[in-house]
Symmetry: C2
Subunit: 337 residues, 2 copies
Amino acid sequence: MNQAAPSDPAPTDALSRLAIMLESDMVGVNREIVARMHSPVALIPELAGHIVAAGGKRLRPLLTLATARMCGYTGEHHIGLAACVEFIHTATLLHDDVVDESDLRRGQASANALWGNQASVLVGDFLFSRSFQLMVDAGSLEVLRILANASATIAEGEVLQLTTANDPATTEAAYFDVIRGKTAALFAAASRVGPVIAGRPDADADNLEAYGMNLGLAFQIVDDVLDYNADQGALGKTVGDDFREGKATLPVLLAYARGDDEERTFWHRVIEDLDQKDGDFEQALSLMQARDAISDSAKAATRCAEDAKQALLSVDGESVLAETLADVADFCVSRAY
Amino acid sequence: MNQAAPSDPAPTDALSRLAIMLESDMVGVNREIVARMHSPVALIPELAGHIVAAGGKRLRPLLTLATARMCGYTGEHHIGLAACVEFIHTATLLHDDVVDESDLRRGQASANALWGNQASVLVGDFLFSRSFQLMVDAGSLEVLRILANASATIAEGEVLQLTTANDPATTEAAYFDVIRGKTAALFAAASRVGPVIAGRPDADADNLEAYGMNLGLAFQIVDDVLDYNADQGALGKTVGDDFREGKATLPVLLAYARGDDEERTFWHRVIEDLDQKDGDFEQALSLMQARDAISDSAKAATRCAEDAKQALLSVDGESVLAETLADVADFCVSRAY
């Protein structure tokens, strides 16, 4: 949209390049995912298969693979641990859809719409348990600690999100607490696992964790921006969904915080009371534009991506992977412009 | 009820005796539970505290404490692991109430009735994650494997229960698969953790696990029997709840399997179609009595309790605790008569 600074020509898709570099590892991850979804209870692989097959970018397991390889890891545990990261992510998606009462996920009918909330809750629990079984197989208490902590932080972020839902006066700090938990914690953990299994010193693990954390923040902010970025239906995101659900995302918070009384009355009506009528979405876009809320949100994402790249610079490692991870941060943010 | 053989006078409550023997350990467990429910997200301790404070018998953590002490364990990890077992149990209760759409839990308003399904799903996820953090603190991969496996088995049992719900023609084998997963797996794991942290040989761990498994089966069968045992509102169980929800429990399966066509038509109507009218519960009781369905269910529980005691006999250990654990099996079954 034109409130964003005109950016460089679209870069080559760094995420696709990363996936190609790690293709043989990802074949192993996908094989592990399919194998470990298995259960004698047929509904489990059926439902889990639906959401896993729906795809997604597999960004989180790629982070585990990439950071492990970048740190010179030559073992095999990164495969199972990448699958485990994807299982945790899938379990949270299943539960999110129940919590959000979503009927769609990645453009397809969501699992809860097809099989009901009950099955989605329980199969989510199964995948979550299964991810811990996979971690035990990898045999590292340090990795278990990282991922158990991330899981608890994700749940905390999701609960916090519930308590700030539909409040346009949510502070920027509270917004960052929510997305740090619900999204960035798993990116951070996925990126810390690589250096840890590679036996790297804590400083490297801390830096790669900081890379993942900031990448995750940028990723979520961009996701929230795209909901208001009417020129792009990029990457399967449907414009206006968050608005219709009254989500207190960064563009809303900024527009509210910078708005006058009349504007705040509008935001309370549409976000808090969910009393929306024709033209409200366009009105929201226009207010956001007047208050630089979308462009400044995109800039916040850019700052996070810069922080991610900065943290990455401090880690010695295989240079092509390191450069591609840096490009992934840029690519992630480029979607917002 | 009079379909059950008149039994011995009610034994002293062995579970209370066990709790008294392990009182100082349980003080530590309760302290750990309260401390580890803490989160900066206030809704988490609020909601979790509601269900934890509602009490319950703390049977599962007592099994971990008792088996550890019986095996001569002198360390401190049994405290955290017992809390962890209770957290897993609490997480499953929160999710069960969402799945069952229950408004009551232990005679109080359920968490989902008070805070909504969304919060119950997410706080359940938090407690589950927290339990794995507690396990990591205990530092044993073997214990992590036991409890991760149990968690996956619980979820499988719950999903299987969904798929057999409201089917009076569910086989006895399928019923046992469900209760082995949803209930007995955690009893078994809780009882295996004790000998494992005490460094006992596999044979002892296997036997104590078998004790827990059979105790859990007996416990669940008795719970299912009590729903039809109109003379006793024992231990907080409300008579007729399972019937009204059309649960395919052992008394129903036996009455159905042994019934004639007319009886089966009745069971299909009330259990499968949930088309129930005044007098149906009394009719169900009368059919169960005619087919020995309640008394034979109670006998099945007795057999499980005998198997539990048999497994216990094979383990050398502190004799007063061992005897009390045997008495707990008897006590558990005595509730059904």
